[in-house]
Amino acid sequence: MHSQQILSKEKVSRRGFMGRGTTATLSVAGLSVLSGGAFSMASRKGAKEDPAADAGLINTALSLEHEGIAAYQIAAESGFLDDAVLQVGILFQSHHKGHRDELIKSVRELGGIPVEAKSIGEYATALGADQLKSQADILQLAIGLELGAANAYLGVIPSLNDQEYGHLFARLAADEAMHWTALKGAVGEALPQNALYFG
């Protein structure tokens, strides 16, 4: 994280975002232990020769979404976010919950066992939440995670056997890019000069 890129809390306004938040409340994320994936190799219409391989890759994406949901939860409970930012965080978290649900459905379609979320405490440790001291810190963390997620989804598409899941991953990447773009605008950072930035 580059300190010169961090803007103060006061500079981040609702107007800076490209979307408006919802008024939904955040729920506490589920507490469960990460479990391994044993696959029954059930067939799925349209799936190619190795459904277990696709299910494994989709489960990794599911782990990523669990972490994203937890990250927004940690941010919401930090006490550092002003109301406008909190509302946008709630909206983005709801998108990640939608991603999670779609990925769970996909893993099950392939006969796999969806990986479960870890505890909020484990995610807080893994994400270095104790280092977050301001709204600006949180926004920079979110920007990094959203960029990484967009790139991760795009980078996995060639490894998927079933192009239906490739299409799903492209849609997920687009959502992550939307979040990243909104967050970059919120902190007043310039967008990339070059095309083909993601992937």
């Binding site: 391989a53 890759l57 782990s63 990523l64 270095g128 995670l145 980078g155 490894s159």
Partner: protein
């Protein structure tokens, strides 16, 4: 019986071909990496799942370079990684980042990094942080 022998021979041939393919893939890259560029790229390309000092979706990377695949403590690897008999160096990391599934079928990492220079830069960064980690240990 003859069919069984033919099938076995064909499978053995295919396995040998796979091993040969991996061996070919694991040539040391000709491009030199830049660890400074690699640090920024690491955040963009790998940061969704990995950190240097924390196990997350994927294992931490502090001492990855020079270590055996699947050897980070307290990380639950797939069977594919547990069984992968590889030590991470320029050649093996380059092959891995090009196509993890080809190197370890069944791996849960499907991310492919197609740009050769980006791979070299990230590998240079991983080597640097691993050497730093080793120096701090000694």
């Amino acid at each position: 019986m003859i069919l069984t022998i033919l099938c076995a021979a064909a499978l053995a041939g295919a396995a040998a071909e796979d091993r040969q393919q991996i061996a070919v893939m694991q040539e040391t890259p000709a491009i030199e990496g830049d660890a400074g560029r690699g640090e920024a790229l690491y955040q963009r390309r790998c940061g969704a799942c990995h950190s240097i000092d924390q196990n997350r979706v994927g294992p931490m990377h502090r001492n990855t370079y020079g270590s055996k695949a699947g050897s980070v403590e307290n990380f639950a690897y797939s069977k594919a990684l547990d069984e992968l008999d590889v030590v991470w160096n320029e050649a093996s990391l380059d092959a891995w980042l090009q196509n993890p599934s080809a190197m370890a079928p069944g791996t849960r990492m499907g991310f492919r990094l197609t740009d050769e220079q980006e791979r070299a830069d990230i590998i240079a960064y991983l080597r640097t942080v691993s050497e730093q980690g080793e120096a701090e240990t000694n």
